[in-house]
């Protein structure tokens, strides 16, 4: 036994409580300990994933109560993969933001790293928990960390962004609670596996209403179209690395929650079409809005929302190929978008307004960072031989298998828009003259930031040139998601086998 999934939650929580104390001993520990914890989570999630790959799903019970009664954690191929993505990103974000802005005082710095750690832990919790109310709690943990991180910088509009985020997040939790109330009132249980197994007994009227409230509640976290007003503001005003964490961590967890509802909990086939529709609308609106952005991070934020729309479309296809494509997309997005946020936040480091027009000619002064930004742009718009291409291709082939030609056409048209706005920025960075009055004063990234970005860049290239490095994992994860009865059996039986 290499460890247990519960440690993915318990250790960061313990660390969060410990940090204020040890911060009094040596201040630097406040920065270092979260890194160590995140590294530990990374190692643990990877080893667990390897183990899951060999021995099958790990179901962890809490407080010794068997599955339908106690809370349980499910570490399967799917959740393990997502948890690994999340912890990896968490670690990279830590590495990047270690002394990101050195002039920040000790107190906020302390909180920053705690929040970051809790953001990652909360997202991991959302993914690996097997209980809807527990998921709600983790959503709140993630949410509060995210609000705090959004409002991290004083003196900017960050409080406004955070307040909008909080307002929406609060509504989201209200909707979630309503949905939980409906489900509990009908089925008398909160365990996902048991809900899934009993779902067919539920009155369809309640089922649909519960689904709608669930999707609305989680959709706010997953940035579905009319619910994502907070997202661009939060991405823009949060510190640079946190934008990466939002794109790579929070949204991933939200998307996971949505698909878990649609694929496992509810047995409404029409929900897949619903996902496609919603995903397409999100994709189109977000990408078209991104086209006209003046601020770099805001553009990246809309792009991120658009990508999530695409992920939902791919999930909505519902076949193995579709799920595979969606997971691939999520993986790629989790690798690429943080790279863009990382390098982008250094491109506009010294700028007040963070406008796109301020990056003119920076390629000359910070070739490495700018090059990585270009690499990320190339990858995210799906140019081969970079990572994004393979996921886009698999989405399209999956859609084509189902004969969704209109979807393919729309996705491709939107891709053109995506290309336009990304390349406008790349052009500015590399091929326009540096202008002292307009452009930003260049700021070279620190060593640790360079490492974090390089890791991501290498991942992009590896996946791009040799996608088979990850496809095996993705295939088993997608089989895992589609295997609903397997999930139910795993959770409930393992619970029973652990006689107490």
């Amino acid at each position: 036994m290499v460890g247990s999934p519960v440690l993915l939650i318990a250790v960061p929580l313990l660390a969060a409580f410990v940090i204020p104390l040890i911060g009094m001993i040596w201040k630097e520990l406040v920065r270092i300990v979260p890194g160590l914890v995140l590294a530990y989570m990374l190692v643990l999630s990877v080893t667990l994933l390897v183990e899951v790959n060999q021995n099958g799903t790990i179901v962890e019970t809490i407080a010794g109560w068997k599955a339908p009664w106690g809370i349980n954690l499910v570490y399967s191929n799917l959740t393990g993969l997502l948890a690994t993505i999340i912890t990896t990103l968490g670690f990279l974000v830590w590495m990047f933001s270690y002394r990101f802005k050195r002039n920040v005082d000790f107190e906020p710095a302390k909180k920053y790293f705690i929040f970051l750690m809790m953001l990652v832990a909360g997202a991991t919790g959302i993914v690996i928990t097997g209980d809807i109310f527990n998921q709600f709690v983790f959503i709140e943990i993630t949410g509060i960390s995210a609000y705090a991180l959004t409002a991290f910088y004083t003196g900017r509009n960050s409080a406004e962004a955070a307040f909008k985020y909080l307002m929406m997040g609060s509504l989201a939790s209200s909707f979630l609670l309503i949905a939980i109330a409906i489900i509990y009132s009908q089925l008398g249980t909160l365990n996902m596996a048991e809900i899934a197994s009993k779902m067919h007994t539920m009155d369809p009227v309640f089922k649909v209403i519960a689904l709608i409230f669930f999707i609305t509640g989680i959709g706010i976290e997953a940035e579905i179209f009319p619910l994502n007003g907070w997202a661009p503001d939060a991405y823009t005003e949060a510190p640079g690395p946190i934008g990466a964490a939002f794109a790579g961590v929070v949204v991933k967890a939200g998307i996971y929650a949505v698909i878990r509802m649609v694929f496992t909990l509810f047995d409404i086939p029409a929900a897949h079409d619903f996902l496609i529709t919603i995903g397409l609308i999100t994709l189109i609106v977000a990408e078209s809005t991104a086209l006209r952005q003046e601020k770099l991070k805001r553009m990246l934020a809309y792009s991120s929302i658009g990508q999530m729309g695409l992920v939902l479309v791919a999930f909505g296809i519902g076949t193995h190929a579709g799920v595979f494509a969606a997971l691939f997309l999520m993986l790629n997005h989790a690798v690429i978008k943080p790279l863009l946020f990382f390098s982008g936040s250094y491109l506009v480091f010294n700028s007040k307004e963070k406008r796109i027009s301020e990056v003119n000619g920076l390629g000359k002064f910070m070739p490495y960072t700018a090059g990585l930004f270009a690499l990320g742009s190339f990858a995210i718009v799906g140019l081969p031989p970079f990572a994004g291409f393979w996921s886009k291709l698999s989405v399209l082939t999956a859609a084509a298998d189902e004969g969704l030609l209109l979807v393919i056409a729309l996705v491709l048209i939107v891709s053109v828009i995506e290309i336009v706005y990304y390349f406008r920025v790349v052009n500015r960075i590399f091929f326009q003259e540096y202008n002292k009055e307009e452009s930003v004063v260049p700021h070279k990234p620190r060593f640790n930031a360079i490492i974090a970005m390089t890791v991501l860049a290498i991942l992009i290239l590896v996946i791009g040139f040799y996608p088979d490095a990850v496809t095996g994992m993705l295939h088993s994860a997608s089989s895992d998601l589609l295997d609903k009865s397997g999930y139910i059996d795993n959770v409930l039986q393992v619970g029973q086998s652990l006689i107490r």
Binding site: K164, P204, P226, G229, L383, F389, L412, V416, V420, Q432
Partner: protein, 617 residues
């Protein structure tokens, strides 16, 4: 290890090494660059023969790289022109900033073009296609001029094309379950009729963009004129041929399923014809040599598309021959413009005149390039045109003949403008210091120009591989019916014999030249171009007598109705409209948190209201 994969690895490693070495002083980067272009090319010629293949699996798709006769033919263009352009580039790009990027993209372009030609499956085809697109895009924006307009336009159109192609690819995949080109062509006959139409159209959009087919050509003038000339020769000469290559495959495999004279083929041929006319007319109106050549490229590719669209064996032969010729002469001409630009700093006709005595070798190369371009015997351009006309007449496309003929006659106008604008006319004092271009730039030009000369007399040298490629695509053998080494036939057995014609022309030319020069060669003396008969007056040095402004104004006035609006205008309008629309729709995000909350509630309410429709419960 398989030589094919080795070629690609060397290209890739060479590109990266050159990029890394670009900041090192000395000749290391040049040596690396040349080596990484030439070594794989040599390997290609020595270690690879038609039929070699390399297979592997990646990401669940089967990849197959194989050298087919047709691919081999286009690979000849790519490698030949690529090596020449590389040699030219080393000299032309000296003292340029950011050289690493240039070399990197240059090598990648060549690599990706070879990759396209070797690919027998659609995935790797598309991958190489996209690599080619972005590496050439980086070249277009490389000089940093107008990047937001020209560069983006190029990439948008490329992306539209590429994605149209991608859509076709996934449709084929869903229909056949395989990504193999051969499989696609075999099973094409079994598709539903709407698929039979849609898939080729999507493919054609993809290839049409690269080969600058009307109305998808609008990126071409800007892109050709904005990339460094060392690359444009490759860009226009070889890269645009990839579109032709794809078209040949699709046409031969799919459209050939439709009988000759089917409306679908005629539409494509006419698109080619319109492209030719439009490109020519706009070329005439240009004052910048690069733009002129760019539009001329559009027009030339129009001829090729006509040939491919008609699709008879002779037309195919013509189209592919013209493709080879176009690579040769357009490569030459762009290199010449590059040389002039390097020596004088501008490529505008209205600024540069009278370079003939300063840059005689460049002039010679340009002259041969232009003669080949105009299709005048005895140089190679004529052969292609002749075959094209014969095939058009033979396959009953009478109006198209007229259109093509009009375009190629009007081409004389810009041909003359090119030569006159740069080399002839008054020799202004401003350009007295101009010297002949460096030898490394001249040699590739001359070699390519010599190629046009050779092929004009012995077209069999390339028609042979062309017909081999056509046979691979399922066409009947053409030798003996349409061509012998130096002889061309049409459908009715009429012929043109090239070799004696060449000798006759040379003989007459030499005779009269000698006649004109004998005796008085020693006696005559050179006088400057200011010393001319202007009603008895001798103009002063500073008087500008050069006639170049509004050069073809009378002609342009005559064709004015045709040129009133550029297609660009509509595209720009469309783009602006789209942006305005998006600017409007993005106001959904009002910035007011309350509104966002309201959206959420509306979202819920809408789905509650529509739950029966949406979820069927």
């Amino acid at each position: 290890m398989n030589t094919i994969i080795l070629i690609f690895i060397i290209f890739l490693a060479g590109a990266i090494l050159t990029f890394l070495a670009s900041n090192i002083k000395g000749l290391l980067k040049e040596v690396l660059f040349l080596a990484s272009v030439i070594v794989p090319v040599v390997m290609f010629f020595t270690g690879v023969k038609a039929g070699d293949s390399f297979n592997f699996h990646l990401a669940g798709f089967a990849f197959q790289w194989e050298i087919t006769p047709l691919g081999y033919l286009f690979a000849l263009i790519v490698t030949g022109l690529g090596v020449m352009a590389a040699i030219y580039a080393v000299s032309a790009m000296q003292k340029t900033k950011n050289l690493g990027l240039f070399y990197f993209n240059f090598i990648l372009s060549i690599m990706s073009m070879l990759g396209i030609l070797f690919s027998r499956d659609l995935v790797s085809f598309f991958i190489f296609w996209e690599i080619m697109t972005w590496s050439s895009y980086l070249m277009v924006v490389y000089q940093g001029k107008d990047v937001q307009k020209v560069g983006i336009k190029y990439f948008i159109f490329s992306a539209i094309g590429a994605y149209a192609m991608l859509m076709a690819i996934v449709m084929v995949y869903s229909l056949t379950g395989s990504m193999m080109i051969d499989k696609m062509i075999q099973s094409y006959a079994g598709f539903a009729f709407n698929m039979q139409i849609i898939i080729p159209i999507l493919f054609l959009i993809g290839f049409g963009v690269k080969s600058a087919m009307m109305p998808l050509h609008v990126w071409a003038p800007g892109a050709y004129s904005h990339s460094p000339m060392a690359f444009t020769s490759l860009f226009s000469g070889a890269l645009s041929k990839m579109g032709i290559y794809g078209m040949v495959i699709v046409m031969a495999g799919m459209i050939a399923y439709f009988p000759e004279g089917h409306w679908f083929r005629i539409v494509i041929a006419w698109l080619g014809g319109i492209t030719a006319v439009g490109g020519t007319l706009w070329a005439i109106a240009q004052d910048d040599a690069k733009k002129l050549l760019a539009y001329s490229s559009v027009a030339q590719l129009g001829y090729i598309i006509v040939g491919v669209g008609i699709g008879t064996p002779l037309a195919m032969l013509a189209a592919l021959f013209m493709a080879v010729m176009h690579a040769l002469f357009k490569g030459t001409l762009f290199m010449a413009v590059g040389a002039i630009e390097k020596q004088t700093g501008t490529s505008n006709f209205t600024e540069v005149t009278g370079l003939i005595r300063k840059m005689p070798l460049t002039f010679l190369a340009s002259l041969m390039g232009i003669i080949a371009l105009a299709g005048i015997p005895p140089l190679g351009g004529f052969v292609g045109k002749w075959m094209l006309y014969e095939s058009l007449i033979g396959s009953d496309h009478y109006l198209l003949v007229i259109v093509i003929f009009f375009s190629s006659t009007a081409a004389f106008l810009y041909c003359y403008k090119f030569l006159f604008g740069f080399f002839l006319g008054q020799e202004e004092k401003e350009w007295e210091h101009v010297k002949e271009a460096p030898v490394l730039m001249v040699i590739p030009m001359i070699i390519l120009a010599g190629g046009t000369f050779l092929l004009g007399t012995f077209p069999g040298l390339v028609i042979k591989p062309i017909s081999a490629g056509l046979e691979q695509l399922g066409y009947a053998a053409t030798q003996g019916k349409y061509w012998e080494m130096s002889m061309l036939f049409n459908e009715w057995g009429d012929q043109v014999v090239l070799e004696p014609i060449l000798y006759a022309i040379i003989a007459v030319f030499a005779f009269f030249l000698v006649f004109l020069l004998i005796k008085n060669h020693k006696n005559t003396r050179y006088v400057s171009t200011k010393d001319i008969s202007t009603s008895g007056e001798v103009p002063k040095e500073h008087e500008n007598l050069t006639f170049i402004q509004n050069f073809f104004q009378p002609f342009l006035r005559a064709v004015e109705p045709l040129m009133k609006r550029q297609i660009d205008f509509y595209y720009n309008g469309f783009g602006k409209g789209i942006e305005a629309l998006f600017d409007f729709t993005r106001r959904i995000y009002t910035g007011n948190g309350q509104t966002y909350a309201l959206y959420a509630i509306i979202f819920v309410v809408i789905f509650l209201l529509l739950k029966t429709t949406l979820f069927g419960i």
